[in-house]
Each structure stands twice: as structure tokens, then as C-alpha cells.
Subunit: 70 residues, 2 copies
Amino acid sequence: MEDVRIKFGIKVKVLRLSRGYSQEKLAELADLDRTYIPGIESGKRNVSIIVIEKIAKAFQISISDLMNSL
Amino acid sequence: MEDVRIKFGIKVKVLRLSRGYSQEKLAELADLDRTYIPGIESGKRNVSIIVIEKIAKAFQISISDLMNSL
């Protein structure tokens, strides 16, 4: 099975692009350091539940929806 | 809003008890160190996506279901 970090990164990238956000914009909305987003999208970061919540809030979706089909 | 770690911990505990698992049993099923589970259930641990996936697998539910209503 593909690594959950890779699948999560792809999901974040697809959502971000569908909203027309730059990586910097997403970082700002999620209150994350902007150097963080590339590592998430490439599946390198083992994101924590607090970061997951921040990203869900930035996209204005539930955590469950963000984690859907991972 | 209540901390997402607290809500996740309660969810794990409720699921664990509903299955009749001890903390040791859940740790074994999830392939986690058994000292890890109390910290998760008390909301002290900022669990990573890899740990979330392991716990979902232990309960044989999807990650999305595990994260439902957090």
C-alpha cells in the first residue's frame, strides 16, 4: 500500500490547486511556516494531528473530509 | 474549541473499550509501544499521520472514520 504521507500530500496539493492557492497562501491560512508545505505535499513530513487540523481549517473542511480515502 | 488531541484521545478510548481491548492489546494490534496508548488517550500526544493510520488499522476502520467528528 502506498505510504499514507504520500497520499496525504497529494490530497493537500490537489485541494490547494483546486482553490487556486499558492503554497505561501496555504501556509498563511493554516498558520504554518511556509517552508512546511512543500514537505507535506511531497509526502516527506509525518504531519501531526494538530497540523492536520490546521490544514482542514485552512480549506474550511472537516478533518474527516481531509482524511477521506487515504 | 476543545483541543483536537483531547477529542482524538477520547475517541480512541471509546473505540478501544467498545472492542473490549486493553491498552496493551491495542498497542499490540497497532504495532505501537504500549507506553504510547495512555498518552494518546489522555490527549497529551500530538499523534502523527502514521500513528493515526496504525490505530485505524488496529480497529479495522478507515482513517476518515477514525477522524470523524473531531
